[in-house]
């Protein structure tokens, strides 16, 4: 009763086991830095960062049960705020710090490059958009999918709140600081954006490239598919850096966590989350 698919899967997994073992031994070295540490580390802010932070936190807490890491969202504004006030040891932002934020003694650690892409419902026949079209949609000039070669449906616009780094990059680099029409729905996180677009056939939204999976599709922008490669080599223009921020130079557990994100294992998590790792400066 062994089906060919089963055999193929078995073969794949057998080939995969040595690789998995290798990665475990690698992880043993990268999580070693936490061996004599204990305590609590609070992380808050940008929601694009969460997939990377989660994987890192799980690996660290598995290797060392004396460490507790909490991860909260809230957006880039919250990240800077919480780190500056000492409510979180690491505040994540999806944009560089504003001068007023940096003035509170925050130190930035860029660790990944992320693209911000337009996302559509998978049932939407529109597969390509120009940046001018996207700007016109968000300005309220194009209101029906028919204009863009889609079905005769009103476009349902989704945007992010003002605290979002994703929104800041989208407005600056894709809309060229153009305005978003006030009738657009506002959602408070990358996850909420994906859920909204995945469930509405007439929706258009935008999210961090790392959040794109098979529940939403990213149309090509001016003919370029927003892939990791296109983001890394500069062909896709709507990119930003993801930052971790600390109040003053990080010490102890915070320092170890930041170093871990820059380690080969951390880079693996960054890649598997759909981002491009950056080297520590």
């Amino acid at each position: 009763m062994l089906s060919p698919t089963f055999l193929r899967n078995l073969l794949c997994s057998m080939l995969f086991i040595p690789a998995a073992l290798l990665s475990i031994s690698a992880s043993a070295t990268d999580t070693d830095r936490f061996a004599h540490l204990h305590g609590q580390l609070n992380i808050a802010g940008g929601t694009a960062h969460i997939p990377v932070m989660k994987q890192a936190a799980r690996a660290i807490m598995t290797a060392n049960p004396d460490i507790r890491i909490t991860i909260a969202g809230g957006g880039s504004g919250v990240g800077a705020q919480q780190a500056a006030k000492g409510l979180a040891e690491i505040g994540n932002t999806g944009r560089a710090l504003k001068p007023a934020e940096a003035a509170q003694g925050l130190v930035s650690f860029p660790f990944a490059i992320d693209g911000v892409a337009v996302i559509l419902n998978p049932t939407n026949p529109v597969k390509a958009l120009s940046s001018q079209q996207v700007a016109d949609i968000y300005a309220g000039k194009i209101t029906n999918w028919q204009t863009l070669g889609g079905a005769d449906k009103t476009i349902n616009l989704f945007t992010r709140d003002e605290a979002s780094g994703t929104r800041a990059v989208f407005v600056k680099k894709l809309l060229h600081n153009g305005s978003v029409v006030t009738k657009a729905n506002v959602v408070p996180s990358n996850g909420a954006m994906k859920t909204a677009v995945a469930r509405d056939p007439a929706a258009i939204g935008y999210s961090s490239v790392g959040y794109i999976d098979n529940t939403v599709v990213a149309p090509t922008l001016d003919g370029i598919h927003p892939s990791n490669e296109a983001c890394a080599n500069g062909h896709y223009p709507v990119v930003r850096k993801l930052y971790m921020n600390t109040k003053g130079e990080p010490q102890g557990l915070t320092r170890a966590f930041i170093d871990f994100i820059y380690s080969p294992q951390g880079a693996g998590y960054i890649r598997s989350s759909g981002y491009i790792p950056l080297a520590q400066q």
């Binding site: 809230g74 957006g75 504004g77 919250v78 800077a80 705020q81 500056a84 504003k98 007023a100 934020e101 009103t154 349902n156 989704f158 709140d161 003002e162 605290a163 407005v171 600081n177 305005s179 006030t182 009738k183 657009a184 729905n185 506002v186 959602v187 408070p188 859920t195 909204a196 469930r199 509405d200 007439a202 929706a203």
Partner: protein, 299 residues
Amino acid sequence: MIADKRPPLNRGNVTGSDRLAALLPWLAGGVFGTIVAVFLLLGYFALPVLFDGNITLFSPIWRPEQGQYGIMAMVMASVMLAILASLIALPLAVGICGLCLFPQYRRIAALLRALMRLMAGVPTVVYGIAAVFLLVPWLRDTLHYGSGFCLLAAILMVVILILPVMIMLLDSHCRVLMQQLYPTASALGMTSSQIILHLILPSSRPVLAASTLLGLSRAIGDTLLPLMLAGNAPQLSANLLDSMRTLTAHIALVLATDSHSAEYNSLFAAGLLLLSVSTVTTILIRTITTRSGARSPQS
């Protein structure tokens, strides 16, 4: 009304309860002081914003990137949500409460009361999630207008949110009244419906008003349901099917911005506005229920 007239159960421990009684004014004073402090704090931060000529709060245009911080669109959405939700909830509450009074529906009533107590304790986020996955797509597909995230979706869920407390308040009043009046009234030949329609409902008018106000203040204060369901577009619209942002959702969304910006400061004014509204409704509820206590047949 609710004062306990029974003698103290444990007479040997008089000194202990005396000490507790002496402590109570201090505790009450502490709570009062905290409330005053919240008002003063919000006022301290909000007043400069209210009188700042550069921040035009009383305009319907919220465009922080262009320096326009009007919150009137949000005030309008909050008012629409609160008034419509309590107007829908009131007849439902009266109907369900009335049904519970009929002696022949005693079993259903017990079930309904248990359900209401359960519903009063359900976290709003649970209603929110259910609505995002069931109500919003249903609205979008049946109405063929917009994304389904609209004020109407929020109103419908807020009705479910405020209904249990409104019913519980009404029921606790009407049930006692029914127990007192039923033997006499039925001996006089009145049917159950006549007792409820002509005796109980008319004498429950102040409680009806109080429960409506309670629903209103809960509706205006709820944050999560509008945030998850109303779509949050900061626009002025009278169309219930449009995406709108309530004042509470607005504070939740903007609180995340850079804390030194003018948009952040404008939130204190929004907070003061909300606190004033809920204080006024609470005072109104207190006035109405105290007056109804003097007029109710029990006294």
